[in-house]
Amino acid sequence: MNDRLETLLRDPRAHQDTPDADAVRDWSDQALARWQAEQAAEAGRVPRRRFGWTDIATAAGLVSAAVAIAPVVGALAGHAWTALHAGAARLADRGWAADAAWTDGTTWTQALAEAPPALLAVAALAVFLSVPQLRGMASRVLDG
């Protein structure tokens, strides 16, 4: 009896009723179809762009722009700080007009006019490269 039981236990029919083989095949087919769709989606995904000349140009532009802008930003911040401390009330009276003078007599238009053109060009480049759409356009031109 023991040998018979051992033999029976090795037979799938002696265990819990298993789903029909055709049904299992159908389930497998569905799982495979899902897996294949995943694989196709994976293959169709745009590969990560490789590091290129555009990235180097972008980085160089951003660094030089930051270096160039720093004094201007510092000067503007200094003017603003001075204005806040020295004459907040007077500034409020004048308004924030383009020809309104800071406490040292400098106006906005003067500050921009005195900035070296090269610095302004670099700042414009930095803004251009910081905008993703513009950068993508540049990338297509540069990388072909």
């Binding site: 009896m1 023991n2 039981l5 051992e6 029976l8 236990l9 090795r10 037979d11 799938p12 029919r13 002696a14 265990h15 819990q16 009723d17 298993t18 789903p19 029909d20 083989a21 049904a23 299992v24 095949r25 389930w27 497998s28 569905q30 799982a31 495979l32 899902r34 897996w35 294949q36 995943e38």
Partner: protein, 179 residues
């Protein structure tokens, strides 16, 4: 290529993992996964979920399988988790008053000349159904899937001595009921 038993298969047998290899993988393991789900007494629709989710997870993970265990043990382990999740879902559904899905349809009536043999199988099945779940699952893994005690222990998160105890007590109970 000779057909290998699932327990003899290795990840290298499915390299490169293309559509053909995935088909061979599914053909080899889907029946075993379905049998495992049935041993959990899961209804038909949950068996389907278990088979599909296990195959998908295994196919996704196969390229990263490092061979820390046998491939079959790894697949059964995924199936075990899916079965446990499905069983928990079934219990929650039962507690929430949601009617569980119908059980697997019973086999068609056997031919007269096979009736005696079918009756024998039915008696074993009935005896198996009366066993505690862990004993029933351990017997299935051992006798049907051919897993070693150590593999079953890893699968069922138990010690080998515990698995041996489950197998012995399961066999003893079956002998009593089957005698």
């Amino acid at each position: 290529m000779p057909v290998k038993e699932p327990n003899q298969l290795a990840a290298a047998d499915f390299e490169p993992l293309d559509d053909d290899a995935a088909r061979r993988f599914a053909d080899a393991f889907a029946p075993r996964i379905a049998a495992q789900a049935a041993r959990f007494r899961l209804p038909h629709d949950l068996c389907q979920d278990v088979v599909q989710e296990t195959l998908l997870r295994a196919l996704r993970g196969l390229p990263h399988f490092r061979g820390e265990s046998r491939l079959s043990t790894w697949v059964y382990r995924i199936a075990w988790r899916e079965c446990a999740r499905a069983a928990a879902h079934q219990k929650r559904a039962a507690r929430g008053g949601i009617a569980p899905a119908p059980e697997v349809e019973p086999e068609a009536a056997p031919q007269p000349d096979l009736a005696a043999q079918a009756d024998e199988y039915a008696r074993v099945r009935a005896a198996m159904n009366g066993l505690p779940e862990q004993h029933r699952l351990a017997l299935g893994y051992h006798y049907l899937d051919g897993l070693a005690v150590a593999d079953i222990a890893a699968l069922m998160e138990a010690t080998p001595s515990t698995v041996k105890s489950w197998l012995k007590r399961g066999r003893d109970a079956l002998r009593e009921r089957f005698a």
